[in-house]
Every structure is written in structure tokens, then in C-alpha cells.
């Protein structure tokens, strides 16, 4: 089957098929099929973006201005949120790939049976409700009765147990760990799908050229999964940026705003403090940050992965 070549993020594949279609649909009829999806997109995605842009510059009794952006720029919590959002993206994705890729390689290439079992068991955290996970991990991290405390106690370290979620230096990372725990299985599954779809001929040719074992993983499989890497990094970026329930339920952005991200700060300023205009401004920043990060990721992917051997053969592999 020839399918979405290039993956989720690429522009639509050119239709090279000769025009032999004979479905006698007029343009009006064809657009009737487009309308439900397009309508929902306009209402709940395009309109919100435009409304945010407008709300961030408009003022009830004054001309439109960038005053709220200046307000954000001089707000220290805003900068903490920006920094934490970037930390969320970088740390989550780095760990998810570092854990997910090797596990997928083991599942697909190193074991003769039990693949489906491992893929399923590793994917299970993905399907559990995040607000449930938040409370379970809050208990795991809890001083005096949590599972982690029990481990410290068993090792004789009970006295040096840190207040994991109450320590400004740890709080963000402690929540990111939970996010990584939940999403690794997704990375494993996507890498498994990617590896299973690699062109066996290229793998065999590489084996003849002496690429076996770790060399095969490093110089053949890793670069051939380029489109999987790119899609996972982009998906992981948006996922990390929009993570809300874990932070909201585990730290409320605290202690003292130390684990605030742009997502939680939008909620806090918009709904708790009822500063909708300011929250819209933060939302515009989040939107722009997402675009900038994705653009940077594409640039890195082009520069870095393209230099690896065999990187050029990707795409034809599916």
C-alpha cells in the first residue's frame, strides 16, 4: 500500500494518479463532504487563534496596543513559565527517544516471540487517565507514606528523603518524569511501526556491507527512521507544551510558581485571576513558541540527520 508518504507533518502528497476517476460529484457536492470537518476546524481552532490575537492587543477603553506584551515581559513568573515550557519539551523528548528507541529495537529485532505483549504492556500507561496518574504519582512521591519514601527507608536513607514536589529545584523534573513514564510506550510503538516498515532489501544490503549489530542500528536503522523521528519530535513538542493535568494536580504550578508552564499560567491568569486579556497574550506566546520550536526541530533534522550515511534513502523505505 502506498500511503501518507513523508508522514504526518509533510505537505500533502502530490496525486500523480492518472485521472480516471468517474465519481460524478460536482464541486458543491464535494465541498459538502469537506464542510463538517472544516466547520469544526474554523470554529474551534482557527477562530480561537484569531480571537487570542485580538484579545491580546485590544483594550476596552483605549486603542489597540502591545501593552499586555510589555506587561508579560516584565512579569518574572511569565519568564519562569517560558523557561519551564522549553525544559518540558527538551527533557521529555530527549528521554522519550533515549528510552523508546532502544526498547523498540529490542522488541523488533532482538527477540523471537512476545513482541505484541511487550508493545501492549509498555503502551498501557498511555491509556490511563492523566488525572488518575497525577494522584497516583503524588502518592508515590509523598513524604512519610509514599512508595518512593518506602524505597529510601528500605535503603536506610529515610532521613535524606527530599520533598520531591515541594522543592522548587525538583518539582518540574519530578512531573516531567511522570510525563515521560506515560509517553515512552507511545514512542516505542511508533518506532516499532517504523522499524517493521523498513525496506528489508536495504537492511540486507547493509548487512552484506558489514553493518551488523550495533553498527546496523546506528548507521542503518536510526537514519532510515528519519520521518518517524521528526513526527515523534513534533508530536512530543506539542504534547509537552499542552501538558496540564499532571502539573495542575501535582504541584499547582508551585511551590511559589517554580513549576509553572505557559499552559498552567494561561489557566491561572485566565480563570483563577480572571485576567482574560493577559491570559490570551500568554496563549499567543505559547502558540508562537510551538511554531518556533517545530521550525527549529525541522532545521536540526535537515542539517544533522541528512549528514548521516543512508539518510537519503528514507522515504523510499515505506
Amino acid at each position: 500500500m502506498s500511503l501518507v508518504a513523508g508522514g504526518t507533518m509533510s505537505p500533502p502528497a502530490r496525486r500523480s494518479r492518472p485521472t480516471r476517476l468517474r465519481i460524478g460529484a460536482s464541486q458543491i457536492e464535494a465541498w459538502a463532504y469537506v464542510l463538517p470537518a472544516l466547520g469544526l476546524f474554523l470554529l474551534f481552532e482557527l477562530y480561537p487563534i484569531l480571537a487570542n490575537l485580538w484579545a491580546s492587543v485590544s483594550h476596552p477603553h483605549a486603542a489597540p496596543s502591545l501593552a499586555r506584551y510589555a506587561e508579560a515581559a516584565s512579569d518574572p513568573v511569565f519568564w519562569v513559565a517560558v523557561r519551564n515550557s522549553v525544559v518540558w519539551v527538551v527533557v521529555s523528548i530527549a528521554l522519550e527517544i533515549a528510552i523508546g528507541f532502544p526498547l523498540a529495537v529490542l522488541i523488533e529485532l532482538a527477540i523471537p516471540r512476545g513482541r505484541a505483549w511487550f508493545r501492549t504492556l509498555l503502551f498501557l500507561p498511555m491509556v490511563v487517565t492523566p488525572s488518575v496518574i497525577a494522584l497516583v504519582f503524588t502518592t508515590i512521591y509523598a513524604p512519610d507514606y509514599g512508595l518512593l519514601y518506602g524505597l529510601f527507608q528500605a535503603l536506610g536513607l529515610a532521613n535524606s528523603f527530599p520533598a520531591v514536589l515541594g522543592e522548587p529545584a525538583f518539582a518540574t523534573y519530578a512531573v516531567i518524569v511522570v510525563n515521560v513514564w506515560q509517553w515512552c510506550g507511545f514512542f516505542v510503538l511508533m518506532y516499532c511501526v517504523g522499524i517493521a516498515q523498513l525496506d528489508a532489501e536495504i537492511l540486507d544490503a547493509a548487512a552484506i556491507d558489514g553493518a551488523v549489530g550495533l553498527a546496523r542500528v546506528r548507521y542503518v536503522i536510526w537514519p532510515m527512521l528519519r520521518s518517524t523521528h521528526v513526527s515523534l519530535v513534533v508530536l512530543g513538542t506539542i504534547q509537552a507544551l499542552q501538558q496540564f493535568p499532571l502539573i495542575y494536580l501535582m504541584t499547582q504550578g508551585g511551590p511559589a510558581n517554580a513549576s509553572q508552564t505557559l499552559a498552567t499560567y494561561i489557566f491561572q491568569t485566565g480563570f483563577d485571576e480572571n485576567r482574560m486579556g493577559f491570559a490570551s497574550t500568554v496563549a499567543v506566546v505559547l502558540f508562537v513558541l510551538a511554531l518556533v520550536l517545530v521550525a527549529v526541530e525541522y532545521a536540526i533534522a535537515d542539517n544533522w540527520l541528512a549528514r548521516l550515511p543512508l539518510a537519503r534513502t528514507r522515504g523510499r523505505a515505506a
Partner: protein, 278 residues
Amino acid sequence: MTHAGSRAPSRMLIAYAVLAGACAISLLPTVYMIDISLRNAADSFAPVLIAGHPTLRNYAAVLSHARFLRFFLNSALIAALTVVATLVCVTSLAYALSRLKVRGGAIVLLVIMSALLLPLASLLIPITVLLRTLHLTNSYLGLVGPETSLGIAFGTVIVKGAMDGVPLELEEAALLDGASSLAVLLRIMAPLCRPALLVVAVWQFLFSWNEFFLALVIMSRNAMKTLPLAPLFFEGPYMANPGKLFAILTLIGVVPMLFYAVLQRWFVSGLMAGGVKG
């Protein structure tokens, strides 16, 4: 494409050991959650994985709680409606783009795909304001609409990919018999794309069942709340009684786990066949 048979058996054993360890870490919090839900009051604060003396009393108490059942019903209804609405939107859009030669179709696809780059938090405030204006907060439609729209981009990738792979000969036969475009979609394309539709349905069900952020701001009335809000609702009352709270958490979490366990075979094979290559 595996050559595992030719490997040294010790390497294979190491691979199994690593994978088993990873699975243990991935399952441990769930085991811990279930164990706390089975504890009696005396053991509930013990810092161990398995406390022993399991009891089902917590479940009996929780299941008779009317509010919890209402949350459950709300979640089930919203998830079902979201799945149906998403399938309708995605299937018809993918069909139009794949087969009907919509003028400007490439631009439509690009625009719809751009939604994959929007973090939900950046849309939340205008969506809420819009729903308040339309008097759709605290209504099922108020959640089904945004949740459906958030699933369209991913679903369209999957279903359009599957439809592009369906050979044209199949529908040409039907067209010779004078079938309409809708008949071709319903009788030929949709059945042939069932694996892709199942992937979208599973994904959307899990998304809707677990969705917290939208539900938090749109469903302020207790009667309309969904299950992901239940931990927040019961956290206070059951503060001193983790057994009961964790029975609720287990009941919420076990539904998507069973759902996925039952459907995972088709979900994964649908992904493999569907060219979700990255």
C-alpha cells in the same frame, strides 16, 4: 525481517530481561494504585507496594455513590458521541480529498493539518468564551464539538492514507452500476478502510475519555462533570481515606486499559498497515 534466531542466546536473554524490567516500571504505578484501592483503613498509609489483607469494601462504598455513577455516564456518552462525530467528519473529509477532486483540496488538507501544531492551552480561553456565548457550557455538545475538532487532523492523516491505497477498480465497478458518491463511500470505501477507522475510533475514545483540561473549564456543574474531574472532586472528601479514593482512580483507569487491551491487536495492525509511518 528479524534475524534473532542467529543471535547468541545470551544476547536474547539480556533483551528479554531489559524488556521485562521496562514493563515492570510501566506497570508498577498501576499495581500500586490497585493495591491501595484494596487496603483497609489501617494499612492505607503503609509505604509499601503490596500491603496484604486485601478487601473489596472500598469498591462497595464507592460504587454506591450516585455522583460517581453520574460522572461515569457523562464520560461514556461524551466519548461515544465524540467517536461517532469524529468518524463522520474524518471519513467524509478524507473521501472528498482522496476521490472527489475538491478544488483547493491541497490547501484544505494543509490548513487542517496545521491543527497538529496547536497546543490545546493556546485555544482554551477563546473556546470557553465562545461556548459561554452559545450557552453550550455544561452541555454534552460543548465538549463533543471541541474534542471532535481536535481529533480531525490525526484522523484525516490515517483515513486519507488508507483511502489513497484503495484501488480505483473497486469503485469503478460500482460507478458503472450508477452508484452515487455517497453510496461509493458507504458501501465500498468505508468498509475497505475499517482498520484505519478503528485506529481513529480507539484514539478518539481514549482522548475523550481521558480529557481533563477542556472538561475542567466547560463542565462547572457537578451533574455534567466527566470522570477525569472525579479525582479532583473526591480528593478532598477522601483525603483521610486513600483506599476509597484509589478505588475511584482504579475504576476510572481500568476502563481505557481494558478497552485498549481488547482492541490493541487491531489498533497496532491498523497502524502498521495504515502507513502512519511517523
